[in-house]
């Protein structure tokens, strides 16, 4: 049996994880889904009351929270859906077309 931790895309058959098992959790963090965005949110820290209402609405786990305080968006994974912008009661999130 062959067990390889990291799979790169050009590995030959005998270096690919058996049966497509993935060892270690959360390896999708390597994937940049931020480039899917058409719109981009911005966090206005001064206005944020850290109420956390935005946090659970994010399908992409892209609103990091540490010690009960939110931090800036994880733009590598945020797809720009705008749900967080809509739920913020304090106008602490803007949401605009992204310039690429």
């Amino acid at each position: 049996m062959i067990y390889v931790k990291d799979a790169n895309l050009n590995l030959p058959w005998n270096e690919v994880n058996v049966a497509g098992n993935i060892y270690g959790g959360g390896t999708s963090l390597d994937v940049n889904t931020g480039d899917w965005r058409l719109f981009i949110p911005a966090w206005i820290e001064e206005k944020c009351k850290h109420c956390m209402l935005c946090f659970p609405t994010c399908a992409d786990s892209s609103i990091p929270v540490k010690n009960e305080k939110r931090e800036d968006f994880d733009f590598k994974h945020c797809k720009g859906c705008g749900v967080c912008y809509k739920v913020c009661p304090f106008d602490a999130i803007t949401w605009e077309k992204e310039d690429k």
Binding site: G20, I22, G26, T33, G82
Partner: protein
């Protein structure tokens, strides 16, 4: 312990970004919400039925699951997870597993209401200590918006299109939650995403930590399939609840309890109007569809109120 979103939000994430679910997808929100209710010290094994969630969240060599994950087929997730739970019991007994594991099966409405129904019924009846979570987005979204038995009446879907003779799906939505209640398992609940997620969180917590089988039916809107702007996810959920199209309740050992009662019950049109899948219901001559839909919602709501008294 009282629900505190700040505390919950500070927990390590069990379902991370980088998956391929669409922007604003309800499935991802549902999974995060359910897993967040696990105690920090507990490990989990999630089985996922073939679905948008499965193909998007675990695509070799990238997994969004930070605990353990297994997929094997579409119609078997309840049986699959019951096998993990059985192995856990055996290995625990033999002292080969030390940690505490929780077992969760995730299926979409197709994998739960339809093709996976037999396996679900079997697993609930056998009494495995597991939670079955249906993320209900009311059609086969993974294969391109085909009708399921969870699709609401009149909704336009690709195998029940709106035509000159037939106005979308012909049947009302199957009431799966009640069907599972009839299995007389310890915990059954219906929920969706409300403001601070207290409703979903508390139900998920009870589901995880009530010994024996538990079932959660989570309305998980699909912006593409339902044709509403993705940013309106939370508004759509709120309207589903406030119109009583998707009432929030739980059944604990046969005791029915409403967990949310709208201050003012809104007309179903408030929920239907923002969604493209119902747009034909607002054309001249289609008034009967609205009436029919409202009548059904009213009937079921009244029936639920009686059960919850």
């Amino acid at each position: 312990m009282a629900y505190n979103l700040k505390v919950e939000a500070s927990k390590p994430e069990r379902f991370v970004g980088g998956h391929r679910l669409c922007a604003g997808c309800g499935a991802g929100v549902a999974v995060r919400g359910v897993l967040r209710a696990l105690n920090d010290e507990d490990k989990s094994v999630s089985g996922v039925a073939t679905s948008c969630l499965e193909v998007s969240s675990c695509l070799y060599p990238f997994t969004a699951w930070n605990d353990c994950f297994i997929h094997s087929a579409f119609e078997n997730v309840a049986a699959s997870v019951s096998g993990a739970e059985a192995a856990y019991n055996a290995l625990k007994r033999k002292g080969k597993v030390k940690d505490t594991y929780k077992f969760i099966a995730f299926g979409g409405d197709g994998g739960t209401y339809d093709i996976g129904f037999q396996a679900l019924s079997g697993a609930m009846e056998r009494g495995h200590d597991m939670v079955y979570v249906c993320y209900d987005n009311e059609a086969y979204m993974n294969t391109g918006l085909q009708r399921s038995s969870a699709t609401p009446k009149y909704a336009e879907v690709s195998t029940a299109p709106v035509g000159s003779k037939i106005p979308g799906k012909a049947q009302f939505k199957k009431d799966l939650t009640e069907t599972i209640v009839a299995h007389d398992i310890p915990y059954v609940a219906q929920t969706t995403f409300m403001t601070n997620f207290k409703d979903l969180h508390e139900k998920a917590y009870k589901a995880h930590y009530t010994p024996g089988p538990a079932f959660l039916n989570v309305l998980a809107p699909c912006p593409r399939g339902w044709r509403y702007p993705p940013e309106d996810l939370m508004a759509i959920c709120k309207l589903a609840v406030d119109t009583c199209v998707w009432p929030l309740y739980e059944v604990i050992d046969g005791e029915w309890k409403l967990t949310y009662e709208p201050k003012t019950k809104l007309p179903v049109t408030d929920y239907l109007k923002p969604q493209g899948r119902f747009s034909h219901m607002f054309k001249p001559g289609a008034e009967y569809m609205i009436e029919d839909f409202q009548k059904e919602v009213d009937k079921k709501w009244e029936r639920l109120l009686k059960k919850c008294k």
